[in-house]
């Protein structure tokens, strides 16, 4: 049954795939970063299409910020940020292509041939979803949330620690 949801899914799915492909096809770093941003946004819209409003919004907001910073970092560390040098910056191409194809085929095969059961059509309202998600976080998944919080803190401290420069006595 072709519904709107399906159409939207297909459109934005293809968009995400194309953007993703573009990430690795361009030689310009900034463009890769921005393609990635586009892919992420498309994924966020997919979330929205699948009626996970909170997640979708969250995705778009986070990815937006992250891609920007990534663009800055790209420019910092790349030899040729603009991509004007026309160097092929890839290795073991055959392996990677083969790996990608094999994995894709495998997962598609699983998706097609597994018995998923009945599709549920009734979804709670966004208001309801938020409330339920909040309850979920603070009841059953409290521990996970707490751990996630501690992990974020650890990550922050780790990254700062790693990025600090060691002052050498010259």
């Amino acid at each position: 049954m072709i519904s709107i949801q399906l159409i939207l899914l297909i459109i934005f799915g293809l968009a995400a795939i194309w953007f993703g492909w573009r990430v690795f096809m361009t030689s310009s770093m900034v463009r890769s970063a921005l393609s990635l941003l586009g892919s992420m946004v498309a994924i966020g819209i997919l979330f929205l299409v699948m009626e996970a409003e909170f997640l979708g919004v969250l995705q778009i907001m986070m990815m937006g910020t992250e891609m920007s910073i990534m663009a800055i970092f790209m420019m910092m560390y790349m030899m040729d940020p603009g991509g004007l040098g026309n160097m092929d910056m890839s290795h073991q191409k055959k392996i990677s292509i083969a790996a990608g194809v094999v994995v894709t085929v495998l997962i598609v095969g699983v998706a097609l041939f597994a018995d998923w059961g009945t599709i549920v059509t009734q979804v709670p309202t966004p208001h309801e979803q938020n409330r339920m998600l909040g309850m979920e976080i603070l009841k059953r998944s409290m521990m996970i949330f707490e751990t996630a919080g501690v992990t974020i803190l650890t990550g922050m401290i780790a990254s700062i620690a790693v990025a600090l420069s060691i002052k050498k006595q010259r």
Binding site: Q92, A99, L106, G109, V110
Partner: protein
């Protein structure tokens, strides 16, 4: 009862005093004898009044000991104690300066007690015990002077001969007890004993009373002191055989009595001949004793124990007097041989007169005591059943008696008297003893008949006997008086004199073989001992060899085990080194090589590592998918 005890225990107490306290020996013995005399007098008086005293006390089971005072035993006890007392008096003088007093006096007191016990015994077992004690006392007394070889030999010979004959006594008493059922000496027994038992008793009599063929010990016993000869070997101990015959007389069958008579008859003749030809006064008197005892045995064999009792009593007094006289001669002259004694009579006139009086009594001259008793025996011989040869034997015996007594008188009186060499000492004691007994022989004839009547027996009398006895006596004495020299040189006379040594005599027949046998056994035992030693040494050698062998074997085994263990240890070490260590080294090496090859894979490049992880992931995915499908 008390009298019994006095009679028997008085002298025994004296003997114990002498052995234990050892003072006033002679007087203690004399006291014992006097006590016994008192007791026997009392018993005699009781017996005359008619009281029969018995004492029974515990003995073997069903065979109690018994002392019984019959008429016969009272008379005999009195006679014994009277004679002994006077001989003791004599002996005090005789032994005054001799050695061996302790042994003599204790032995002779013991003997007196045993003799009284024998006389008064009421049952056969006490009789046997008293018999044995007397034999032992005789052994002690003959060997009083034991340091002299002849005395020791004589006492051994006497004891052994008596021992052999005592076997007869044991067998006989055994037969009596079995036949009668009890051991009491009964005057009227139920039944007589068998011939074998009677002969056995006869054997005992032959041994004790020195009848043929056991007569030689009496001659040898003269090696003892004269009082011993006077008491034991003339009056009392040898008379014990006669007493045995008297007590057992009711048990003998007539056939057994013929044997008894025969033995008596043979002895009279043979020993009478010995006495005629002897060259020693004491040996003559010993042979005479055997002969006179033969008379008594003959009388019992003829069936007239009364005659035997009469002669027993008479002979006791006579012979003891003769011996005491001979003892005085020996004491003064220093020897008993006729050679030395010739003419001694002239020197010791008092002694000679006493001697002569007793000798005439023995020959049978009236009115001395000997006449009456010899007359009784001759009459008994006439009146007995096998009178054919009893009477002639007795007559010839009386003839012999007269001859040898006459000879003794002749030698003693005739001949030159030696000059006085030693002063006469201790004579009063000896004379007292001698003369009292001689007096008894002189006047005893009057009392003999009543005494025997009191004893419960009768004396046979006969005119023919009386006349023949007188003839024999009167004719024999002069023959003896005029007989030739003191020593007979011809071989045949010496054969008679030496108690008919057959086949070399006692020494050759009995003593030498026994000694040879003993030597042979000694040799056997020595060789056995050597054999034992040899065996012992052999075993010792074997043991030593074995122990060495074992030692060596153990050492070898231990060495081998040790070497073996060392080999195992070495092997184990080798295995350790080569095996385990090598194995571990190999393991380590393989791990190292594995690492080396693993290292080659690693490039260190991130993308390569990522590629590897992707391969792994795909692989895992495929596995999971397969399990689900």
């Amino acid at each position: 009862m008390i009298a019994l005890l006095l009679t028997i225990l008085g002298p025994l107490a004296g003997s114990i005093w002498i052995t234990a306290i050892r003072r006033k020996i002679a007087y203690a013995a004399l006291t014992g004898s006097l006590v016994s005399l008192t007791g026997s007098v009392l018993l005699f008086l009781y017996m005359i009044e008619g009281k029969i005293i018995t004492a029974t006390f515990a003995g073997l089971p069903n065979l109690p000991f018994r002392l019984e005072v019959t008429e016969l035993s009272a008379v005999l006890a009195l006679v014994v104690s009277v004679i002994t007392t006077f001989i003791f008096i004599y002996a005090i003088g005789y032994m005054a300066e001799e050695k061996g007093k302790l042994r003599f006096w204790s032995g002779i007191s013991l003997f007196l007690g045993a003799m009284q016990l024998l006389v008064l015994a009421g049952d056969w077992i006490l009789f046997v015990m008293a018999w044995e004690i007397m034999g032992f006392a005789s052994y002690l007394l003959i060997g009083t002077w034991y340091w002299k070889k002849e005395a020791g030999d004589a006492s051994t010979k006497a004891f052994l001969m008596n021992r052999v004959a005592d076997l007869g006594l044991y067998v006989g008493v055994f037969v009596i007890i079995l036949t009668g059922g009890s051991s009491q000496i009964a005057a009227e027994p139920m039944q007589g004993i068998s011939m074998a038992g009677a002969l056995a008793l006869l054997l005992a009599v032959i041994g004790k009373s020195a009848q043929v063929p056991f007569q030689s010990w009496l001659s040898a016993a003269m090696a003892g002191p004269t009082p011993v000869s006077a008491l034991l070997h003339s009056a009392t101990m040898v008379a014990a055989g006669i007493i045995l015959l008297l007590k057992a007389f009711p048990l003998f069958s007539p056939e057994a009595l013929i044997w008894v008579g025969s033995v008596g008859g043979v002895t009279i003749l043979l020993t009478g001949a010995t006495a005629v030809f002897s060259e020693d006064i004491k040996r003559m008197l010993a042979a005479s004793t055997s002969s006179q005892l033969g008379f008594m045995v003959l009388a019992v064999g003829a069936g007239y124990p009364g005659a035997a009792i009469a002669h027993l009593i008479a002979h006791a007094f006579i012979k003891s007097s003769l011996f005491l006289g001979a003892g005085i001669f020996q004491h003064e002259i220093g020897s008993t041989k006729y050679e030395k004694l010739s003419g001694a009579g002239k020197k010791l006139k008092l002694t000679f007169s006493g001697f002569a009086l007793a000798g005439l009594a023995l020959a049978g001259i009236p009115p001395l005591i000997g006449f009456w008793s010899k007359d009784a025996i001759l009459a008994a011989g006439l009146q007995a059943d096998p009178a054919a040869w009893y009477f002639p034997a007795a007559s010839i015996g009386a003839f012999f008696t007269a001859i040898y007594m006459g000879r003794a008188f002749g030698i003693l009186w005739k001949g030159k008297a030696r000059p006085d060499e030693t002063p006469q000492r201790s004579l009063p004691w000896m004379h007292t003893g001698l003369l009292t007994l001689v007096a008894a022989t002189a006047v005893g004839g009057l009392f003999l008949d009543p005494l025997v009547e009191e004893a419960g027996f009768s004396i046979p009398k006969g005119t023919l006997a009386m006349i023949s006895g007188l003839i024999v006596a009167v004719s024999g004495l002069p023959i003896g008086w005029f007989a030739p020299a003191p020593v007979f040189k011809k071989r045949i006379w010496m054969f008679f004199r030496d108690n008919y040594p057959v086949a070399g005599g006692y020494n050759r027949v009995a003593v030498q073989p026994m000694l040879a046998l003993a030597k042979g056994f000694n040799a056997i035992e020595t060789s056995l001992l050597q054999a034992v030693f040899v065996i012992g040494t052999a075993f010792l050698a074997i043991a030593r060899w074995l122990s060495e062998g074992i030692d060596r074997a153990t050492a070898y085994v231990i060495d081998w085990i040790g070497a073996f263990n060392l080999k195992i240890a070495r092997l184990s070490g080798f295995t350790d080194d080569k095996g385990i260590v090598e194995g571990i080294a190999l393991l380590v090496d393989s791990v190292q090589r594995l690492g080396y090859y693993g290292r080659k894979i690693q490039s260190g490049l991130v993308h390569r590592e990522l590629a590897w992880s992707v391969y792994g992931m795909v692989f895992a995915l495929i596995i999971i998918l397969l399990t689900y499908l």
